[in-house]
Point group: C2
DNA sequence: CGTAAAATTGATCTGTCTCAACGTGGGTGG
DNA sequence: CCACCCACGTTGAGACAGATCAATTTTACG
């Protein structure tokens, strides 16, 4: 059985997608899986592996990634507490991406059977379905991000997405959140160079948009950041309690530089 | 009921993922949906729509896409005969991407209920599950493509993917296939400019890799093109009959230019 | 303290974009 | 049946966002 606070985490996350019943809560509480601590920068799943247990992140950050033959890395998505490594219920074929921790993590190894049991409950089935759709939408959004946005827009968009997702699981207080993601990680997810990410973050600091350092991120003007990144939370499929608050109408916003 | 040849198309496509039983064939044959002809460059689903009927492409090419506020377009994936607009079975929420035809198409409007009926059959359920996983993997692959590959690599990879997918549904003969995709479409899917796509295609023609024109594509040296694009068909989840033939070991290949 | 990872800075380079024509083929209305 | 049109393709020149290279500084932490 998962510790109480971790059950709360899962409930919180899934209820951001759709209402759950008391029985659903109970089913989540009964989820049994060994939990272990994993260092930062460790593989949880390697590219080409046959899917074994699911990895459920309970604490810390992780990511899905692909490696190029020359060693460069493309991060496909970030995983934060409450995220499963995959929700496919696929027959054993090889997985086309790796999963690695970013920071030290607490990871639960959930068997496919346990997950299948959750899918038996209609309420959870619905929540997990939307959760999966949300994850798919994130990848689509990233494709747009990398394909059609400028460097500053990409970084802004990524940070907005992080911010909303972290707020859902209650990890944002006063616009501040734990953020153990390096500039290198941001570079690998936005397809920019570390150097360039660094310069963009400095611009953002300079104009007072955010504070970032000490593995901590504070966003001082979310609306402005969202406008810069063309961010609208709709694709995350959150219910109105969450999507509204952090959402801004999608119109062209002022540029990062004072006058552009 | 779908016309016979279109049932054959679906069977062919799904059996590329996994074996189907005779009953599964029958279930597909019984699928009933109005079929209509649609011009090229028409929207089938608009961004923000509430999901209605599924669109099943029976002839012609279409695409999923996102539009930026400034009018630029990012194509998220191409749809070829046998492809459904979505396989989510989601409750009515808004869809975060549009679907539009590339060429004139034959489109079947399949109701969510009809699709749900197919999911009742374990064999089809499995096939459609893998089909969906394959589509997800394609988006991931495109993210890598756009994020981490050079212009020539991107185009090569895209063409390889097209080629394999078209071969599965029997639309390739002697390395030649109908290809109503404009250079503008290629640009919008690889996140390149039309001008640059044009130059790359000319390079590829010059070195005898392919012939492209008159809405027809011939790939003269698939192995070489795959090596240039770092293409490996594994992510498409095809069974061995298909994945092997067009697959090449993934090693760094010779550059496009004679000596690089 | 020492050491390694992460962040920062400056200088330079380049792949790809943008702009601006021009060519071309196939459909269509006169 | 021809002339026009429009989408698509092609070409050249110049511009620039972001990459790369090469240090140097700061931070985290044993």
């Amino acid at each position: 059985m998962l510790p109480r606070n971790m059950t709360t985490l899962l409930v919180r996350k899934l209820e951001a997608f759709t209402e759950l019943g008391g029985d659903d809560h109970a089913a989540l509480a009964e989820l049994t899986a060994p939990i272990r601590a994993v260092e930062g920068r460790q593989d949880l799943v390697r590219e080409g592996d046959t899917p074994g247990d699911l990895k459920l992140i309970l604490g810390g950050f992780a990511c899905r990634y692909r490696l190029m033959p020359d060693g460069r890395r493309q991060i496909l998505s970030f995983m934060i507490p409450g995220d499963f490594s995959d929700l496919h219920l696929m027959p054993p074929r090889s997985i086309d991406y790796g999963v690695a921790t970013i920071s030290p993590c607490e990871v639960a190894d959930v068997s496919r059977e346990s997950l299948a049991a959750l899918f038996e409950r209609p309420g959870l089935e619905q929540a997990l379905r939307i959760c999966r759709f949300s994850e798919e939408a994130i990848v689509r959004e990233w494709l747009v991000n990398v394909g059609r946005r400028s460097a500053a827009e990409r970084v802004a968009h990524l940070l907005c997405e992080f911010f909303v997702r972290l707020r859902v699981i209650g990890q944002v207080t006063n616009g501040r959140t734990r953020f153990p993601v390096t500039q290198g990680d941001i570079a690998d997810s936005t397809s920019l160079s570390v150097v360039h990410v660094n310069r963009i973050l400095q611009d953002m600091r300079r104009v007072g948009l955010l504070t970032l350092g000490n593995r901590e991120l504070t966003i001082h003007d979310f609306g402005r950041l969202a406008r810069i990144g063309g961010f609208s939370a709709a694709y995350l499929q959150l219910n109105d309690d969450f999507s509204g608050a952090a959402n801004e109408p999608r119109r062209p916003g002022p540029d990062l530089r004072p006058q552009a």
